[in-house]
């Protein structure tokens, strides 16, 4: 079984990786910063490390420098893959000079993740059947999930977060449908009620750009005044919500 050490402070990515690794039957430990990862690596054996760059207490660059220079011969040569949102060749060159073997781009794509892990562990792709999905396709800033607010309630309880995601996945499509039909039927009360109730749910997942549109819809439903471009706003909400739903579906176990 492949043993993976992860240093990543962003909860959403922690949950995604946890979900993928369980599905792939990998053994893993997730740390919130580079310092904890070094401690874990000193005490236990791993096959590969996935390292975020920007983390509190100790970032990825400091951690990799430490691993490559201070740890014993066996541990210092472990493959380390950077988790980064920067899509820049010069940046990748710099990471390689620092000591990273490779990089995985965020938002994390399962196919890319598995391929990079296997390549760096020199495992043949055919050894494992991989279900290829392109969940990060067509993502934009307007529908990127952020679980920070939800985590203020959860305080790190991943089971509770998963339950909240499951509930959202049940209810969100109904809200979208009701907002669409409320608008199509000029049913201002239906439009208002559903926008009003949907907005706080979106807040749990940090979907600020969608909330702005939903609040606009509620505001106009209260005033019973359609505005120019209302069709476009409704369509935008639906498209972005569906993308967010797709991302959340990917992390439910």
């Amino acid at each position: 079984m492949i043993k993976i050490l992860v240093a990543e402070d962003y909860l959403f990515n922690q949950i995604i990786l946890q979900r993928y690794f369980k599905k792939l039957d990998y053994s893993f430990v997730i740390c919130n910063n580079g310092s904890d990862a070094i401690k874990e690596l000193k005490e236990n054996d791993f096959d590969i490390v996935l390292m975020d760059i920007e983390m509190p207490i100790m970032g990825g660059i400091e951690a990799v420098t430490y691993i490559r220079t201070v740890l014993n011969t066996e541990k210092k040569s472990i493959p380390i893959l950077a988790l980064t949102g920067h899509h820049d060749e010069n940046y990748f060159k710099e990471l390689r000079i620092i000591g990273f073997n490779d990089f995985i781009l965020k938002p994390i794509d399962k196919d890319d993740l598995v391929r990079k892990i296997h390549t760096n562990l020199k495992i043949e792709e055919s050894n494992k059947e991989i279900e290829v999905t392109n969940e990060s396709e067509n993502l934009n800033a307007e529908c990127v999930i952020n679980l920070d607010y939800l985590n203020e309630f959860a305080q790190g309880d991943k089971e509770f977060i998963t339950e909240m995601i499951d509930l959202f996945l049940v209810h969100a499509p109904n809200f979208i449908e009701n907002i669409k039909t409320g608008y199509a039927e000029n049913d201002w009360e239906k439009l208002r009620y559903n926008a009003h109730k949907f907005s706080p749910q979106l807040a749990f997942f940090g979907l600020k750009a969608i909330i702005l549109n939903i609040d606009m819809i509620e505001d106009y439903a209260v005033k019973k005044l359609p505005i120019e471009g209302f069709d476009e706003i409704i369509n935008k909400v639906e498209t972005n919500c569906n993308k967010a739903i797709q991302q959340l579906k990917e992390i439910t176990i």
Partner: protein
């Protein structure tokens, strides 16, 4: 300490219930004002009511009025609503609400406000 939370948004209800249970409280939940009013009428151990406003059937303002006027109960009531309009906030206080928070709210702030209301009682 037993807290009743009333909200027709099941995600919100679950999040508040989770937080308050973590804080050590016993939590009852209701998804509409009618169920909440039945629970409050029949259970004298409820020490705090946290309610949303916009709900079908029996809304939050009607629930506050029912608790304070019809039942003549002195249980503290904290309103948690997305509506921050002055008119609505004043109406809630006039009817007998003891505190008011606008959604989305800080869960830690909710803990502190709930604790203060319970101490006052």
């Amino acid at each position: 300490m037993k807290i009743l939370v009333c909200d027709d948004d099941v995600l919100m209800l679950k999040a508040i219930e989770f937080k308050l249970k973590r804080d050590g409280y016993e939590v009852l939940v209701a998804t509409n004002g009618r169920d909440a009013s039945d629970l409050i009428r029949d259970d004298n151990d409820i020490t705090l009511v946290i309610t949303d406003l916009l709900m079908p059937f029996f809304n939050g303002l009607e629930l506050i009025n029912f608790i304070k006027t019809d039942l003549q109960k002195t249980i503290p009531i904290l309103v948690l609503s997305k509506i921050g309009l002055e008119e609505t906030v004043l109406k809630a206080f006039e009817l007998g609400a003891d505190d008011y928070m606008v959604k989305p709210f800080s869960p830690n702030e909710l803990t502190i406000r709930a604790k203060k209301l319970l101490m006052r009682k």
